[in-house]
């Protein structure tokens, strides 16, 4: 005994959830009264279930895409990071001081230029060090945290609530916060780009960034003498004292669409101790990308 092909085809679509709800209900009602159709439906469901684990396969490493060619700040346009330029100029000294003192001796040259993507490591609470890799060594001190918090508070007192700011030894970029009654807590980040093999803190480039918990921040690192632009997309969340970061880092040349774009993305539990975000291949060497981060609470008042 067989069931009509037309009904069997409806069963096939039912199994795939491709029937409108009302039609699915009608087909199910008919199936309940037809033993052969019930058996057929069960067989189809089991076949679909057999392949279900395949459909659940996901990449081991998270992918967060960054729009390479657009100005960070999204819909508010290229003028947005410049809105608080006057305030940035006025307070630049404070911010810059907060920005670069952490690096200790970092060079004043341009940042390194990532040109090729290297897979990031899976999110992990404890990062096992790869053979030959550097051990995390720099820990942000309470004094450093307080100075960054004070600089950020001072900046906001002049420019109003900020979505993010980023500073290196000679540049500052800021973006005003979107209109919201209660700005989310600020989170500070110290981001380091260090040539592989270099001693921590002795070479490379350090950036001080402040953005907001649970607000995606699209940040363009301050321009340097190179023609390459480095963009970040950062999203911090906080749960029970743990700070989690989802990130993507991309670099493009002056020709954004035919140049050697780079992408690095992943998730990390992150804290005051420096954590590796991954490694980027450069022209002739590798650059380690590391970060420390913490939620700014009352440090500036301490």
């Amino acid at each position: 005994m067989s069931i009509p092909e037309e009904r069997e085809m409806l069963l096939s679509q039912l199994v795939d959830h491709e029937l409108p709800a009302d039609q699915a209900s009608r087909v199910l009602l008919e199936v309940l009264d037809d033993p052969e159709a019930r058996r057929r439906l069960k067989t189809m469901l089991r076949l679909r279930q057999t392949l279900g684990l395949w459909r659940e396969q996901e990449p081991a490493r998270a992918i967060v895409a960054v729009p390479l060619g657009e100005s960070p700040g999204g819909d508010s346009g290229p003028a947005r990071p410049l809105l608080s330029l006057a305030a940035a100029v006025a307070l630049g000294g404070v911010l810059v001081a907060a920005g670069f003192y952490l690096a200790g001796q970092f060079r004043k040259g341009p940042p390194e230029e990532p040109i090729a993507a290297v897979p990031e490591q899976p999110a992990s609470r404890s990062e096992p060090a790869a053979p030959g890799s550097r051990q995390p060594a720099i820990l942000v001190t309470p004094e450093q945290r307080r100075e960054i918090a004070q600089a950020f508070a001072l900046h906001e007192s002049v420019a109003g609530p900020l979505s993010w700011y980023v500073a290196d030894d000679s540049h500052i970029r800021v973006a005003p916060a979107s209109e919201r009654e209660d700005p989310r807590p600020p989170v500070a980040v110290v981001l380091r780009l260090t040539p592989a093999g270099a001693r921590l803190g002795s070479e490379g480039k350090t950036y001080v960034i402040v953005c907001r918990v649970r607000d995606m921040a699209d940040i363009e690192l301050p321009q340097t003498s190179t023609d390459r632009t480095v963009r970040l997309r950062l999203l911090f969340t906080e749960a029970e004292g743990d700070v989690n970061l989802r990130y993507a880092i991309a670099a493009v040349g002056s020709d954004h669409w035919t140049g050697d774009g780079a992408a690095l993305a992943g998730r990390r539990h992150i804290g005051l101790r420096q954590t590796s975000l991954g490694q980027l291949a450069l022209d002739d060497r590798l650059v380690n990308v590391d970060a420390s981060a913490w939620v700014i609470r009352d440090e500036h008042g301490q």
């Binding site: 189809m44 990449p59 895409a65 960054v66």
Partner: protein, 174 residues
């Protein structure tokens, strides 16, 4: 525009990975293909003219990247072998008892072998919807056919598979 494309890539990455995994046959190679495909999609974002949907556009980029990898690395034979080896191992439920895992593995071997032997048109529609996880509408856009044709091809593939698995398992359907 680029924000939308970046969002589409982020949202579509798991499915792009599955497409790459199916073609490459190993998780490591699929991850490489995924990364390449994401970078290519971002670089070529302005070439996306909206004539296709982001889903079909990303699917094509992923498939092209996977084939490029296969060509470069001459892994086609290895990829085929992995379909019946590493991937089937990966798809068993780790927490299941050994006997159940062995049964799952056997079912996957059988299902994948039978899927590979399906008539071309049916196989493509079935793989897109049952392995890659595309909806009928998305599969129709990728294949350039109507939704009804997709439904028909999936049905025919399913009917063949169910009957053949019945036969192989002695009347015990999967």
């Amino acid at each position: 525009m680029m924000d939308k494309i970046a969002s589409a890539i982020t949202a579509g990455a798991p499915r792009m990975y599955r497409v790459a995994l199916r073609i490459m046959g190993s998780a490591e190679a699929a991850q490489e293909v995924l990364q390449d495909a994401c970078v290519k999609a971002l670089r070529g974002g302005r070439g996306f003219n909206g004539q296709s949907t982001p889903t079909t556009w990303l699917h094509r980029i992923t498939v092209n990247c996977a084939h490029d990898h296969l060509r470069k690395e001459r892994q086609r034979m290895r990829g085929r072998a992995d379909w019946n080896g590493d991937v089937a191992d990966m798809l068993t439920t780790p927490e299941a008892p050994p006997s159940e895992r062995a049964e799952q593995k056997e079912l996957y071997h059988l299902a994948l072998t039978l899927i590979a032997a399906l008539p071309g048109e049916c196989r493509s529609a079935f793989i897109l919807t049952q392995l890659d996880g595309y909806s009928y509408d998305e599969a129709a856009a990728i294949e350039g056919i109507s939704r009804g044709t997709v439904a028909s091809r999936v049905y025919r593939a399913r009917k063949i598979l169910v009957e053949q698995m019945d036969r192989h398992l002695g009347g015990e359907t999967p």
